[in-house]
């Protein structure tokens, strides 16, 4: 249960992308903690899957990291800063280095595919460029190449609301990569997709993040997918970390601790 993830050296480019979370606590209503004193260290590469039952704080944990949710207490050290303390433009600077993939894709429906991908550059550009759609040619070039990389090269000028779920999630991944991130957060990226598409999406995230040496933290319901793609699994129950180790160390007894009950395992 306390098995540590295998040590991984820093990324090839020598940048330390590790994330250290200490005593993180979140209460939506005062006194009722969704996250109770979570401490985790994420090495600066590889994929970590967070598993656990619904309502156990996985989503809250991931959203605390890029501050879509403000933590009640604790610190999150990343690239030399405590993410929990950032405000205003410092927070935006940190956010643009953290890509996020959402369960329901969260594309801007009425924008085209390429516009959605270019949204990943908004943190780097002045407002007028977004407004006039005057993105730097280098960014546009990269957006097209990323669309090719996620297999949507022919869809660049189609409106996002015309895509299927799997295609939308590919755009979501391209948007996250477009940020040139040092960390990718994925909040249930496959929960709205069919089993085959789910595998393809996990494969895509693992491959594209892997070749760029970007660490990934992914919330996932599907334990099999977690085992298959993650280098490390964190199991949460009732707002606390109850398992932390490599997929090979995850046994049925751990799943019982994480999810409770037992009938479902047979």
């Amino acid at each position: 249960m306390d098995a540590k993830a295998p040590f991984k050296p820093a990324a090839a480019d020598g940048i330390d992308r590790s994330l250290v979370i200490r005593h993180l606590r979140k209460e939506y209503r005062s006194g009722i903690a969704v996250l109770k004193d979570v401490s985790l260290t994420f090495e600066g590469r590889g994929m970590t899957a967070i598993i656990g039952p619904s309502g156990t704080g996985k989503s809250t944990l991931v959203r605390c990291i890029n501050r879509l949710v403000d933590p009640t207490a604790g610190e999150m050290l990343f690239m030399g800063q405590d993410l929990a303390k950032l405000r205003g433009s410092a927070l935006r600077m940190a956010r643009r280095r953290i890509g996020m993939v959402f369960q329901e894709y969260n594309l801007v429906e009425r924008l085209t595919v390429i516009e959605n991908v270019l949204c990943g550059r908004l943190g780097y550009l002045p407002v007028w460029r977004a407004w006039m759609r005057k993105f730097p040619p280098g960014d546009i070039d990269r957006a097209f190449r990323l669309l090719d990389a996620v297999g949507l090269g022919d869809f660049s000028n189609i409106r996002a609301d015309q895509l299927s779920g799997g295609q939308r999630q590919r755009v979501g991944i391209a948007r996250a990569l477009m940020q040139d991130p040092d960390l990718i957060l994925a909040d249930e990226p496959t929960s709205s997709l069919d089993p085959k598409t789910s595998v393809e999406i996990m494969e895509l995230i693992a491959r594209r993040a892997g070749e760029r040496d970007i660490p990934v933290i992914v919330n996932i319901h599907n334990v099999e997918l977690a085992r298959r793609y993650a280098d490390r699994i964190v199991g949460m129950a009732k707002g606390e970390v109850v398992f932390d180790g490599p997929p090979s160390a995850l046994e049925d007894s751990h799943l019982l601790t994480i999810y409770g009950g037992e009938g479902w395992l047979e």
């Binding site: 890509g99 959402f102 801007v108 009425r110 924008l111 949204c119 550059r121 908004l122 977004a130 407004w131």
Partner: protein
């Protein structure tokens, strides 16, 4: 059969609603009372028909004399200009005000200040606002334009604010998560969602300003309303009919155009 018991005879499907009955009775009494106080009687109504008949007979045939047509033309052009200018400035000013009034986008103090301002703009009918502006800036088109800008802002800002409050927060959240500055979030995450409705509202407002531009002229706000008022004063009822017919034609064209614009941007 025996497992379905016969309904108890005391159960009533539609019990008498005494509060509603009393409410209607009070309303009926009030109508009688108010009509008596205001001297609304059948005799006067019948007498009114006689006046109307004389008035209408003096309107025919409409007056198409060249000097009248020149008056009509200059008045109508001024009214159109008032309507177009008021719509353009009204739209440009309503956009920021409407966004500021959206509680899901702006901090509460700003949202409530904007809402108060919008409520203020909506308090008075355009004609009353026009009277105030005629007193403030003098007779003529400027007063009419200003009055209709206020009316447009009251209407458009409120609807834009409501449209923004109904938008999908998920789409906006994703743009915010890229580290985009606030205005870029508005440009790429909010505007695409509300733009079609915004254009629809604006087209409707142009239509509405066209109608009201005749109205503000009656109180000195310039345009065809002023010509109409003068014609009434001089008992030129045949010219009044010409003006009324022209206004009807213009308003109908405006309505068709605005309907067409709204369909185009659905």
């Amino acid at each position: 059969m025996s497992d379905i018991p016969a309904p108890a005879p005391t159960r009533v499907a539609f019990p008498p609603n005494w509060p509603m009955r009393i409410g209607f009775a009070v309303l009926a009494l009030y109508i009688v009372y108010a009509s008596t106080i205001l001297d609304i009687t059948w005799t006067r109504f019948i007498a009114g028909f006689g006046h109307a008949e004389r008035f209408l007979s003096r309107m025919f045939p409409p007056d198409f004399a060249p000097d009248k047509l020149a008056l009509l033309q200059s008045g109508m052009i001024e009214s159109l200009q008032i309507a177009v200018l008021a719509t353009i400035f009204g739209v440009a000013l309503s956009l920021p005000l409407g966004l500021a009034a959206a509680r899901n986008l702006c901090p509460a103090p700003l949202a409530w200040t904007s809402r108060t301002l919008i409520a203020l703009f909506r308090t008075f009918h355009p004609v009353i606002v026009a009277i105030l502006f005629v007193k403030a800036v003098g007779f003529g088109a400027l007063a009419g334009v200003l009055a209709l800008i206020i009316a447009s802002m009251g209407f458009l800002s409120k609807l834009i604010g409501e449209a923004v409050e109904e938008m999908s927060m998920k789409q906006m959240e994703a743009v915010r998560a890229t580290g985009a500055p606030f205005l870029s979030v508005v440009v790429m995450g909010v505007m695409p969602q509300v733009l079609p409705r915004f254009i629809g509202f604006s087209a409707y407002q142009l239509d509405s300003n066209l109608r009201n531009s005749a109205l503000v002229g009656l109180v000195g706000g310039g345009g065809i309303g002023a010509t109409l008022f003068t014609a009434f004063q001089r008992f030129d009822y045949d010219f009044v009919l010409t003006i009324v017919l022209t206004i009807i034609a213009i308003v109908m064209v405006g309505e068709i155009l605005s309907g067409w614009v709204r369909r185009l941007f659905q």
